[in-house]
Symmetry: C2
Subunit: 241 residues, 2 copies
């Protein structure tokens, strides 16, 4: 399982992903689920992945191949695509293609291989945009009303986002919000696990503002998690029925 | 969809269920999902249901028939069963039987009909016990380590329970906890809806201590929900990253 969340705010974008991958309960590994493609000042694209690792790895690898291909065009390379909408299109088409290839291989076993992605970014002169790409390649976009997108195990971490995240939330608060959302998920679902990858992109900078890997023993994450537990229990105590 | 939660505590038991039933998104109704069978001072049994309404209604109706049957035995009537374990057995067997009958009817349509239940109660002289009955009729029991059971849409409301509910939680705090757990669920999933049924059973009383239906406009529930939102936002503000 996986939990990835992306926030699209007035000040910029905040993305957070876990790294746990499992094939059954007894085969657990760490794989990066956040991929960054950047031409600083010109273009920044971040992709987060959830679902079958064979599908997501191959999709990302093929997207990379297309970028590095000297004959790549705005139709094939996300680094040349004229708009973020076109980027979402390219990623969606590749994801759907890879997924159907993998499912064909698995069809004899009656197994499915599904995957979804969050694609976020901005091109100089364009808008900051964030998309959730479905396994079939179609997608939806974060908006003013719903400024966050989630993939993977999204339910445990949604209540906190529903309550505190607005389009006007600051980037500092947004980082707190996604980390607390992840914290609730980590507590409830063993198949979501540390380390975490946290990315902040400021509006119109078209480059990584900060990128941080939070390891299992991270002191500030632990302190925040404990402070939040304390705040919840404290708030709980003060409420009267 | 549905959300039902039961807490098994040192002081007693607290049960909460919603009432929304839907067949598709455009056919929404209100049905009670909590059923109480009581011989005050002798025996109290509460059953909460989730899943296909045709399965849960028929299961409850057959259990009632068995209780009212003048020839009922400790093997067939949950009001005569010698232990709560036997009650769980009887409910589980009936649920599995009804489910398989209904699924047979649906098999031509390639549809499944599933349902699960929480069975909680105490018999004079016996222990207070709480079971989660699976669609196949097998069951698990709430324990010291895990003093709560949930059926239906359980994920949104689990983080708060994980954080505040212990076996030693008071009945007053337990009511707050389940209502806040429900509040998070109501906000995130439209297929869980008011009114709510809240039941409190004190240890060894073997009768209903309090039973309350909380309607959609309930002032105290609304106030609690708002106080909780405020406490969360307040706690969130005070945390530093």
């Amino acid at each position: 399982m996986t939990y990835c969340v992306g926030l699209l705010l007035n000040e910029g974008m905040v993305l957070l992903s876990d790294t746990r991958t499992n094939a059954g309960l007894d085969n657990i590994s760490t794989y990066r689920k956040m991929f960054i493609f950047e031409e600083p000042g010109e273009r920044i694209i971040a992709i987060m992945t959830a679902g079958s690792l064979s599908v997501t790895q191959t999709t990302i690898a093929r997207l990379r191949e297309a970028m590095e291909d000297p004959e790549s065009t705005p139709e094939t390379s996300i680094l040349l695509a004229p708009t973020m909408l076109k980027v979402a299109d390219i990623v969606g088409a590749m994801l759907a293609k890879v997924r159907s290839e993998v499912e064909e291989k698995l069809s004899a076993m009656n197994q499915l291989a599904s995957a979804s992605m969050i694609v976020a970014g901005q091109r100089k002169g364009g808008e900051m945009r964030m998309f959730l790409i479905y396994p079939e390649g179609n997608f939806i976009e974060a908006t003013e009303d719903t400024p966050f997108l989630q993939i993977g195990e999204h339910k445990y971490g949604k209540p906190i986002l529903d309550r505190v995240v607005k389009r006007t939330t600051s980037l500092a608060d947004a980082q707190k919000a996604v980390l607390l959302s992840m914290d609730s998920t980590l507590r409830s679902n063993l198949s979501v696990g540390m380390p975490l990858d946290l990315l902040v992109i400021e509006r119109d900078a078209c480059k990584v503002d900060s990128k941080r890997r939070i390891e299992a023993g991270d002191e500030s994450f632990r302190a925040m998690s404990e402070a939040w537990s304390l705040a919840l229990r404290d708030g709980f105590t003060r409420i009267t029925l």
